[in-house]
């Protein structure tokens, strides 16, 4: 099998591949990649180089992991999972991702394709008006430093207190939408300056808001789907993909600089400057952790405000309240974050970068209504091909630190995609296929063409066969908003 690496890659199963510690000087644990042979062959060289670099970081437990949607990232690969001993290990912004708590949210409705199709143009226009997207877009909520600190410390709870959502939404957000230990005094004025006007905005790049349909023949696990509020029968759902915007990125940038100096003080050397890190228990490590939690809470709040706007848009277009339309939150889950979780090794700081938490049934971290099923896992595909709702498993907890894939993963650069198609042409082609796209930037739209991504179905089949998540339903796009 021809791979984009000279390193030895051993087959563990048809979906799990291992690079032994002998393949790179300094590896403390083996690296494991979840992929079918076909996906493994398409993975770029960066995946192999970076996952083995991660395996060299102090305090790493068991394996450095990469999910099947993995590709090159800054320091850690996208799709990377690594857990570190909380006493002897490190914390790294490169392992969290610079868009802290970039994540997915799925909202169900009682509407069907038949209800929505005649009003789709009006609905997408209303959503596009209410959810700001693209370069420099500002949200409708005016915050001062004090109220922004409330967002940083209380996350989605702040939104509910301010009337942007329903109290029961909180149970369906990872960590209840509010991670403890967020301390705004560890956040720079620069970060606050970038974030204070951006609450309720989508951003650009691969972020989107999508109206989707769930057909009955694409529900793979009807019992779990029902528990998640998914009925199939051409049901309409809404997916949101965004994070902490410029705020989270500034937090990461600020601490990368601090960590570059701290590493010299602590005698840590890394194989890539983007792996800059500090001991988790050091003052610098703890300061970053609390600042990162401020950004994570801000991202939960961002998606909560966007949800409020989505509900308002649907209510306006369909002339019924969001409650009457059954617009309950299915789940909200982060895919760029570091969290302390307990595994067989003890308390570990699990970094998930382009990887989703996937806890199985009975986890004390899940609300009552997901105790029997396991945690909903939301995976976004390209805007042309669709997305998936999956469910977490016990096997994920035992094998991958409770983690799985997050999306389809790019295979073509933005610059190449723009050369292959123009945004206007893509918009027209998608319209002919029944997908209505509203975009701020036509060049940005071209960069997100479906052919620039792996086939998400292949990626989902890998994690399903590996047993670290199971398929629940496929979600097909009919309307998309991009920055």
């Amino acid at each position: 099998m021809k791979l984009n690496t000279d390193m030895r890659v051993n087959r563990v199963t048809d979906e799990v591949w291992e690079i032994p510690v002998t393949e790179k000087a300094g590896m403390l644990v083996p690296a494991r990649i979840y992929a079918t042979p076909g996906i493994l062959q398409t993975m770029d060289r960066g995946v192999f180089d970076q996952v083995t670099n991660v395996a060299c970081l102090p305090g790493i437990a068991r394996y450095a992991l990469c999910m099947p949607d993995g590709h090159w990232g800054y320091g850690f690969p996208i799709g990377g999972v690594a857990a570190f001993d909380t006493q002897t290990g490190i914390i790294s912004p490169g392992g969290v991702g610079y868009d802290v708590n970039c994540g997915m949210r799925l909202i169900r409705t009682d509407l069907t394709l038949e209800d929505v199709q005649p009003k789709l143009e009006r609905l997408m226009t209303e959503l596009f008006r209410r959810v700001p997207a693209g370069v420099g877009a500002a949200g409708f909520i005016r915050l001062n430093r004090g109220s922004f600190e409330g967002v940083m410390t209380r996350g989605a709870r702040w939104c509910i207190e301010e009337g942007y959502g329903w109290h029961r939404d909180l149970a369906h957000i990872e960590e209840g939408g509010c991670i403890a230990g967020a301390d705004p005094s560890n956040v720079s004025d620069h970060a606050v300056g970038r974030g204070i006007n951006q609450l309720g905005t989508l951003g650009s790049g691969n972020h989107y808001l999508e109206v989707q349909v769930v057909s009955s023949n694409r529900v793979f696990d009807p019992e779990t789907a029902t528990a998640f509020g998914i009925t199939g029968q051409d049901q309409i759902v809404v997916m949101v993909h965004c994070g902490s915007r410029g705020f989270g990125h500034q937090v990461a940038s600020d601490y990368l600089k601090i960590f570059e100096k701290a590493m010299r003080r602590y005698g840590i050397s890394v194989k890539d400057p983007q792996l800059a890190c500090a001991p988790f228990r050091s003052p610098e490590g703890q300061d970053y952790f609390s600042a990162m939690n401020c950004a994570a809470n801000t991202a939960f709040a961002n998606r909560q405000v966007i949800t409020h706007q989505i509900r308002e848009a649907f209510a306006t277009v369909f002339g019924r309240s969001a409650e009457e339309l059954g617009m309950e939150l299915v789940y909200d889950v982060a895919h760029n974050i570091a969290k302390v979780e307990r595994y067989s090794e003890g308390d570990l700081l699990v970094h998930r970068k382009g990887s989703t938490r996937a806890f199985g049934p009975g986890s004390p971290d899940l609300p009552l209504d997901f105790q029997k099923t396991g945690q909903p896992v939301i995976c976004g595909g390209s805007m042309e091909t669709g997305s998936y709702l999956l469910v977490g498993t016990d096997r994920a907890v035992s094998e991958t630190f409770g983690s799985t894939m997050h999306g389809s993963g790019r295979t073509m650069s933005r610059a190449q995609a723009k050369k292959a198609i123009r945004g206007e042409q893509l918009q027209q082609e998608m319209s002919r296929r029944g997908i209505l796209v509203k975009a701020v930037s036509m060049s940005g739209l071209a960069e997100e063409a479906g052919f620039a991504y792996k086939n998400i179905s292949d990626v989902v089949e890998t994690v399903d066969r590996a047993g670290i998540t199971k398929k629940v339903a496929e979600l097909r796009p009919i309307g998309n908003i991009k920055g």
Partner: protein
């Protein structure tokens, strides 16, 4: 003389450019134009907002990094995109000083051709170097 070009094969999920100039100042102009173009078509952006920026750094690569990061900061903090930047870069002893005036306008989706919302400048494959009589920089920006 200065120029820039976007790079196809670096940073699959993000954007990268190479900038070059006959002098340090020309290099900074090229990199600035590349970043401005990454955000929006500068010819569609008016001039109703202006900011003076000054930086002093011991290292030239750090100076360029800080300057480009400043532009990203003001894009978010002031909600603007940019038309142009006048700048000078002067070496005094062991330090470099950049003095710039950047001009632009608040984001307006109806009149401006907007491109990518850059989240940050990164140090991945980042370099500033002199080869012969020309200066070069390679920059990857996170979108």
């Amino acid at each position: 003389m200065h120029s820039y070009q976007f790079l196809d094969d670096i940073a699959v999920a993000d954007l990268a450019f190479k900038a070059e100039g006959d002098s340090v100042e020309e290099l900074f102009r090229a990199a600035t134009e590349a970043l401005l173009e990454t955000l929006a078509d500068p010819s569609t952006v008016g001039v109703t907002w202006e900011r003076r920026i000054e930086h002093v750094c011991g290292a030239l690569d750090e100076l360029l990094f800080e300057w480009l990061s400043d532009l990203v900061y003001w894009k978010d903090a002031a909600g603007v995109v940019f038309h142009e930047a006048d700048l000078s870069v002067v070496q005094k002893g062991t330090t470099w000083t950049l003095a710039a005036v950047v001009r632009g306008a608040p984001v307006d989706q109806t009149t401006q051709i907007l491109h990518n919302d850059v989240k940050g400048v990164t140090k991945h494959l980042y370099e500033v170097k002199q080869q012969g009589m020309r200066w070069y920089a390679q920059v990857v920006v996170d979108v």
